[in-house]
């Protein structure tokens, strides 16, 4: 009987600590609340988006993009239309609380032939990541938003000297975040 009481007291104590941490917002600041992975057996890459669920506009709204080479060989990723080259096109679809898509305000660039410097080497079983500030090119203000990668065909090649580019789709599930 006493043991049960003690257990309940312990659980209650843990609950109090957690409630305190949650209400003061100590933990969620850099907490990744949602991670999505798209796995496709034929695709040697996995893409992942993450961002803190609570954001402050003044600090910029930074989203993290990670791409993993899940294959057994080193690969050359074409950086075009990936977050690794910054905003050269519309990378994300951001919707406000009403489901309305925000207007992309960055540039859209026409290029023709990828140059050697446009490729990024990613070793077998390793990953690369980068961060972008969404406030640079999307009219974000306080409120709730959802964000996903704009579906796009990306390309890679198996060896530096290969002429042929192989396509793959790098997609990620929708994340949500809130700006105070």
């Amino acid at each position: 009987m006493t043991t049960t009481k003690l257990t309940w007291l312990l659980i209650f104590g843990i609950f109090l600590v957690l409630a305190y941490l949650f209400s003061t917002g100590q933990i969620p600041v850099n907490r990744v609340i949602a991670e999505t992975m798209t796995t496709n057996k034929k695709v040697p890459f996995q893409c992942r988006l993450s961002l803190a669920d609570k954001q402050v506009l003044e600090a910029g709204v930074w989203i993290n993009f990670t791409i993993s080479n899940t294959s057994d060989q080193d690969l050359e990723l074409l950086s075009w239309y990936t977050p690794f080259e910054g905003f050269m096109g519309e990378l994300f679809v951001i919707k406000d609380a009403e489901g309305k898509t925000l207007n992309y305000q960055g540039p859209k660039v026409k290029r023709l032939t990828p140059q050697p410097s446009d490729f990024i080497s990613i070793s077998a079983h390793s990953e690369l990541d980068t961060e972008l500030d969404l406030t640079l090119v999307y009219p974000l203000s306080t409120g709730s938003y959802s964000i996903s990668l704009k579906p796009r065909r990306l390309e890679y090649k198996a060896r530096v000297n290969d002429a042929d580019l192989l396509p793959f789709n790098c997609s990620a599930q929708e994340l949500t975040f809130n700006i105070r």
Binding site: Y81, Y104, K108, K110, R111
Partner: protein, 359 residues
């Protein structure tokens, strides 16, 4: 006698002020190209016995407005930078030994508005407090108050004369606007970012070709239908439905309307390897980059096609995206996802360029 010598002395000092550093001579040589560009070569020579100095800013068109350009007697606008500077230090001066000269060439039409036909008069003409030396202005007490004798130093060349045919648009006459701020407009087409005369001529020519392409695309879409497409439509937009076909038709109507009725601004400042870029929410400004200038006027990935591509991006036109790039990518997209093909800028460009030709 005392009076006379004072007069003579003051006369001498006045004379000295006006012929400051007469030892330096400036000569300007003007050359015009068939494409309409004008190159000015400035040569400054020290014809004196002693070493002379000149403030380097005044030998560089990228730093100061060093040429005086008149068209039929009226000064033309300078579109280069205006800097606010600190007082010069010794390292800002170029030293010229006796007999030594410096020579620099500048393309003028990208920095002066020389797009209108006329008789041009061009001279080098600069003035500054510190043109030839870093000496501080002397302060004199004339008994009432202190007067700073600020001696403006000047160096100028003789004028050169040149007739220019100017830049003309063909059959694209629209209402002219005067936006200012480094932007100038000719027959409703505007230029910013230092477009030279030869670049302006290329743009007009490409815009004319883009206009024909857009007219041709609209004519195709008006004379076919969703149930009656041909290889040209199917190659770039895939299988037609009424809804998709209507999207294609309204997209090209909007592109055609932008060319015919909107004031498009072309910016020549981009030095990247790209063809071009736009900010889709900022119609109708198109930034042209290096690949644009080396492309052919018509055909696949041409200058005219690039204009169609870029106009299609504007949200107020067709709001297209770069879903895939290149002909093979666009062809695959037409088969795999016709809806996305109608959202792809290159698909619109290739349909308009229609190269190789298809019915």
């Amino acid at each position: 006698m005392k009076y006379l010598s004072t007069l003579a002395l003051s006369g001498l000092s006045l004379f000295a002020l006006q012929v400051n550093a007469a030892q330096l001579d400036a000569v300007v040589d003007i050359q015009s190209s068939a494409a309409g560009n004008v190159s000015a070569t400035l040569t400054i020579t020290n014809n004196g016995q002693a070493t002379e100095k000149i403030l380097s800013w005044y030998t560089d068109l990228e730093e100061e407005k060093i040429f005086h350009v008149l068209r039929d007697g009226v000064e033309v606008e300078f579109m280069g930078p205006h800097y606010k500077r600190h007082a010069p230090t010794e390292k800002d001066f170029i030293k010229l030994k006796s007999g030594q000269s410096l020579s620099r060439s500048f393309e003028l039409t990208s920095l002066y508005d020389m797009s209108e036909a006329g008789n041009y008069e061009i001279s080098y003409d600069v003035s500054s407090l510190h043109l030839f030396s870093n000496d501080q202005p002397t302060t004199q007490d004339n008994g009432i108050n202190k007067v700073q004798s600020a001696n403006i130093e000047r160096l100028a060349s003789d004028a050169s004369y040149l007739w220019l045919d100017g830049v003309q648009s063909k059959g694209l006459a629209k209402v002219s606007k005067k936006p200012g701020g480094g932007t100038e407009c000719i027959d409703g087409t505007c230029f910013s970012g230092r477009c030279s005369n030869s670049e302006k001529n290329s743009i007009f020519s490409a815009l004319d070709a883009a206009d024909q392409m857009a007219n041709d695309a609209v004519a195709y879409l008006n004379s076919h239908s969703a149930s009656n497409t041909s290889a040209r439509y199917e190659t770039w937009f895939g299988e037609a439905t009424n809804s998709r076909y209507n999207t294609a038709a309204s997209n090209f109507d909007a592109i055609n309307d932008a060319i015919d009725n909107e004031s498009i601004t072309f910016d020549c400042s981009c030095n990247q390897s790209y063809f071009a870029y736009v900010y889709p929410n900022q119609p109708y400004k198109v930034y042209l980059c290096r690949a644009f200038w080396s492309a052919r006027e018509t055909g696949t990935d041409s200058r005219a096609g690039t204009i169609i591509h870029e106009l299609s991006h504007f949200n107020v036109v067709a709001g297209t995206d770069d879903v895939v790039y290149g002909q093979s990518g666009a062809k695959s997209l037409a088969i795999s996802n016709p809806n996305q093909a109608l959202n792809n800028a290159d698909s619109h460009e290739y349909f308009a360029e229609n190269t190789p030709y298809q019915n």
